[in-house]
Symmetry: C2
Subunit: 265 residues, 2 copies
DNA sequence: AATTAAGTTCCAAATAATGGAACAATGATA
DNA sequence: TATCATTGTTCCATTATTTGGAACTTAATT
């Protein structure tokens, strides 16, 4: 009875909050502001119930209702996110090392962490003309077709990895995107051995990267950093060369966390 | 019984959600991750209740619990915010005009909207070396001591304005910050007449700006755009000169909204 | 080892959410 | 303009969740 967009059952134990989050997901994932009836159809709840739920969320600023009766994500979310980002310890510690790596290679550097099945990008340092950052930072990307994602997966204990991979639905973004759990798991094993990962145009055609895993000892953060760029400029040979500096930068970030957060994490 | 940080009573009709949002506010506004007991003291709720509430929010990714039992804002908020920002129509329409204004003046240009008592910055276009953007975008600043804030206030109908101003608590960020409703209301009236506002180092010492109001016809967005810079470079004379281009840019943004969103808004 | 503090679980009572239907407003069509 | 269809809002008895107190477990401190 309780289901989300892609038809998978959802049995979370989060009471009232869980129901509201489903609605927030609907509104924020839509391509355009939704009308009451649209949400009614998607959520499959009684009109009265839905109306009250939406009213409460509008009142709290999580979603907004415009003059045409369309529901859009609320701007209060920006304030929450800005605070969340500004004080994130992992990001603060990594920042200078990302800048170093960018200078050393001239290409774009990313920092991302695993959350559920997604990689959430926490930072991005670009080469020449720094483009709009926010359009990338905060973005959630699939873990199975990004360098940072596969690097993060290589940190999981065997059982968690199998569970997570089993729950993925593989979307083929390009011709080289992994299409099955088997091939993905095989590559993850390889990555775990060698300590770095590649993205061979698996998420976006013409874009490739080399990534290294980064984690905090308490496993609050399991993610990675990557050097990303256009395939015509970044040959596999070059990416292989860069595996070393990426791993070194990853090591320095983890060393920084040990110093800052104390040895027991 | 239900109170927030600054002791003001809070009587919202948002049921369970309202209580959870109070907690999310606590966690995101804190200077550092909070321990269970810290939150217990701040929230003033029974242990069992608080524990379940926090568990639910952790489960949903709104807050995170690290290995030391400290609660921090959740990174899922970043994903929500990134989507909220990426598709915001007001921002999308304003973007090119902000860039024009930046080029014309060489100084930093902001776009912000009024939400409650705060201005939430939706965009920022910087001059020479584009600095980290996200550190500004999404930030909530007081409405009574920012150029965009006062410009936005000048759009409110008399009664709403008085109500809002009456609910403000005036923090003196600098020597020139407004300290009372009277002086603020007097300036707002002036701004409403002339159509532009100044910030004379009222929020941050050494930083001033000139701003013009921008709004959508349905009043979903009431905000403004501003040209901001260091006081040593931006004399009051220069700011007065820039009032015209800022107002023109504001006009073009509103024209763009009429075209895009239809004439009835 | 004893003591204090911190975190977790349990359950009857209090409270809020639900869902169905009736009602109101809007907009399309003849 | 009158009619019908659609969309959005309000109400209230029923149902389900949240609440708050206490008991319990675990971790840290003396």
């Amino acid at each position: 009875m309780n289901s989300n967009g892609d038809g998978t059952a959802r049995a979370r134990e989060t009471g009232t909050l869980g129901k509201l989050m489903v609605l927030l997901d609907l509104v924020t994932h839509a391509d355009a502001p939704l009308r009451f009836t649209d949400i009614l159809a998607l959520a499959g709840q009684p009109r009265g119930t839905l109306h009250r739920q939406l009213s409460h969320m509008v009142e709290e600023g999580l979603i907004e209702l415009d003059g045409d009766g369309r529901y859009a994500p609320g701007l209060r979310l920006l304030d929450f996110a800005a605070r969340s980002w500004a004080r994130n310890e992992f990001r603060l510690i990594a920042e200078p090392h990302l800048a170093d790596l960018q200078r050393a290679t001239g290409e774009t550097v990313h920092l991302g962490v695993l959350r559920g099945q997604s990689i959430i990008y926490l930072d991005k340092v670009e080469g020449r003309q720094p483009v709009r950052m926010y359009s990338q930072i905060g973005n959630a990307s699939p873990c199975y077709c990004t360098g940072v994602g596969k690097a993060a997966l290589s940190l999981l204990p065997a059982e968690s990895l199998v569970d997570l991979v089993a729950s993925l639905s593989f979307t083929s973004f390009t011709a080289s995107t992994h299409g099955s759990a088997e091939t993905l798991l095989a590559e993850i094993r390889e990555i775990a051995d060698q300590g770095y990962a590649f993205d061979r145009e698996e998420h976006e055609a013409g874009i490739c990267c080399v990534a290294a895993p980064v984690w905090s000892e308490d496993r609050t953060f399991m993610g990675g950093i990557s050097i990303t760029g256009p395939a015509y400029r970044l040959s596999m040979e070059l990416l292989h060369q860069w595996a070393v500096p990426v791993q070194l930068a990853a090591g320095r970030i983890m060393e920084g966390m040990r110093v800052r957060l104390g040895p027991r994490r």
